[in-house]
Symmetry: C2
Subunit: 290 residues, 2 copies
C-alpha cells in the first residue's frame, strides 16, 4: 500500500459522519504535507481510563483532533475492542472542533488547529527530531536498527513478526511463532494477543503497565507457569512485547508496548503477571552473513 | 438549509468512491471560498447527447470536474433519470483529474484545476459579472426582479412554484397549479414534469430545444390540444417553462428551461410540440399593495 492508497482509505473512513468528514478532510487538505502521517478514527485509552475514538490522530506529534457534534458520544464496549489497535494517550494532546457553530467559525477553528499542528511540527524540526512520514521505512526493521532504539512515543508497529524480530539480531525471511530470542538471554520477544483467544485469556491494563498471562486450561497453565517461574539465571524473565492487533485499515499489526518483567510476587496459579519496566528498548544489527 | 448544511451534505455525497471523495474535498477546501457554489454528482446532458454524471459542478462559471478513475464509466439508463435535475452542458467546460497517477501528480493536477477556477472567477469579477453565492437570495424571486431577467446560463431554479410566479408580476403566498398567468397574455408560466407521470407523457429533448406535451388519455388529450391550438390572439401560445425536478439533495426544484413557443405544424393529435425561442426572459416587479 502506497501513501496515496493509505490517505484515501484513511479519509474514506469518515464517510458515515458528514461533519467529521468535513473537518478531517479540511485539516488534511489544508495541512497539505505528505511528510505528516495521520490516522482517522483511532481507538485510544484515555489517561483516566476507558476506551474512546478520536477522529484524527497525528502520531508524529501525538496530537488528536476530536470533532464535537454537541451530543454525548456513546460509550464503547471495551471488551469487544481488545483485538483492535488501541493507543494509550498519556502525554498526548487533544484539540476539539465544535461543529455546532457556523461554517465560518468551524473554518476559523480549523485554522487554529492547523497553527497548533505547525507549531508542534516546527518544534520537532528545530530540534532535528522530526521524522518525515515514510510508508516504506516506518514498518522496516532497518529504520529502527539505524536509529538504535524503539520508543513507544514513536508509535511503532510492524506488519509481521519477522520485521520485529529483525530489530533484535535476527535476519528472518519468515517467522510465525509467538516468541523469539533476544541477544540478552534474560529477554524474550513476545507477540501475544492481549485479549481472550482460544484457551488463552491474556489482558493488558488500560495504562499498559501490567500484562496478565492466563490460560483457561488449568492443567496446562500450571505447568507453563511453574516452568517459567523456575527458569534459572532469570532466563526470559523479561519480555519485549509487540501485541498482535487489528489496524484500522483491517491489516494485522504488531504494536510495540514496551519491555515487561515477571512479577514473581503476583504470579502464581492464576497466571503470570508482567510489569512494564521500560518504554524504550535498544535495537541490534542483523547478523552478518558468513 | 444554510451554507454549512448544504456544503457538508454535498461533500458527503462523494462517500462511495474514495478517490472522488479525495479530489472533490481537496478542491473545495483548497478553493476555500464560501462565495463559490458547488454541486457534487450533477446529472448532465452532454453536448453530443446522452446523460452522464459530473463529479463536481461550479454553476457560477459553468465548469465541471470529472474524476477519471481509469475505467470506462457505466452508461446511465436515461429513462430512469428524467425526474432528476439534469443540466445541459452546452458551452460548459469540463476538466478531468486522472487519479491513476501518483498522489503528488494528483495534487499537482488539482492545483492546475484550482488555477483554472480562479481564472474564471477573476474574469467574472473583472467584468463585474460575479454573483457571490448566497443561499438566501439564489431561490428568492426578489433577486431576479432586481436584476431584471432570468437567464439559463445562471442555472436558475426555485424551490416552489410561487417563487417562480412572483418573478412575473405575482405576489403569491402559496400556489400549487401547473400553470400561471404572465403580464403578456400570449405567455403562460408552465411547471411541468417532463417525464412520464400518470396520464401525461411529456418529454424534453436532450438539447432542451423541444418539449413534447402528450397525454395517454386519447379523448382528453384531443380536446386539450384542440383547445390550445384554437385559442384566439395567440393567447398562451408561448410558455416560460420551469420543469419540476428532484434536486440532488432530495428536494424538489423548478428548473428554468427557457421560453417556448407552440409549433403549429408539428402539433396535432399526437400532442403539442413546443420550441424554445429564448433562454433569457424579462422579470416583472411584484404588484403594489392597494
Amino acid at each position: 500500500m502506497d501513501k496515496k492508497e493509505y490517505i484515501v482509505r484513511q479519509l474514506r473512513r469518515t464517510y458515515n459522519k458528514k461533519y467529521e468528514a468535513y473537518v478531517v478532510h479540511r485539516i488534511i487538505h489544508l495541512l497539505n504535507d505528505l511528510d505528516i502521517k495521520f490516522v482517522t478514527q483511532q481507538y485510544v485509552v484515555r489517561p483516566d481510563g476507558g476506551i474512546a475514538l478520536t477522529d484524527l490522530f497525528f502520531p508524529q506529534i501525538n496530537l488528536h483532533i476530536e470533532v464535537d457534534e454537541g451530543h454525548h458520544k456513546a460509550n464503547i464496549d471495551a471488551d469487544k475492542l481488545r483485538e483492535f489497535d488501541i493507543i494509550n494517550t498519556t502525554g498526548h494532546d487533544i484539540l476539539r472542533v465544535d461543529v455546532t457553530t457556523s461554517i465560518e467559525q468551524i473554518n476559523q477553528r480549523i485554522n487554529e488547529v492547523l497553527e497548533e499542528i505547525h507549531k508542534k511540527i516546527d518544534r520537532l524540526k528545530n530540534n532535528s527530531e522530526f521524522k518525515p512520514w515514510s510508508i516504506d521505512s516506518e514498518f522496516n526493521s532497518d529504520t529502527y536498527i539505524k536509529i538504535g532504539y524503539i520508543d513507544i512515543h514513536d508509535n511503532v508497529a510492524f506488519k509481521t513478526i519477522k520485521d520485529a524480530c529483525n530489530c533484535f539480531g535476527h535476519n528472518y525471511i519468515g517467522y510465525q511463532k509467538a516468541g523469539a530470542s533476544h541477544p540478552d538471554s534474560t529477554i524474550m520477544l513476545w507477540f501475544p494477543k492481549l485479549f481472550p483467544n482460544g484457551e488463552w485469556d491474556n489482558q493488558i491494563s488500560d495504562d499498559e503497565k501490567t500484562i496478565t498471562e492466563k490460560s483457561l486450561n488449568t492443567k496446562k497453565v500450571k505447568k507453563h507457569i511453574i516452568g517459567i517461574i523456575n527458569r534459572e539465571n532469570n532466563a526470559k524473565h523479561k519480555r519485549i512485547v509487540f501485541a498482535k492487533v487489528k489496524g484500522n485499515l483491517g491489516f494485522v499489526l504488531y504494536r510495540f508496548r514496551g519491555l515487561y518483567q515477571l512479577d514473581f510476587n503476583k504470579s502464581g496459579s492464576n497466571g503470570l503477571v508482567w510489569r512494564r519496566v521500560a518504554t524504550k528498548v535498544k535495537t541490534f544489527p542483523k547478523p552478518k552473513n558468513n
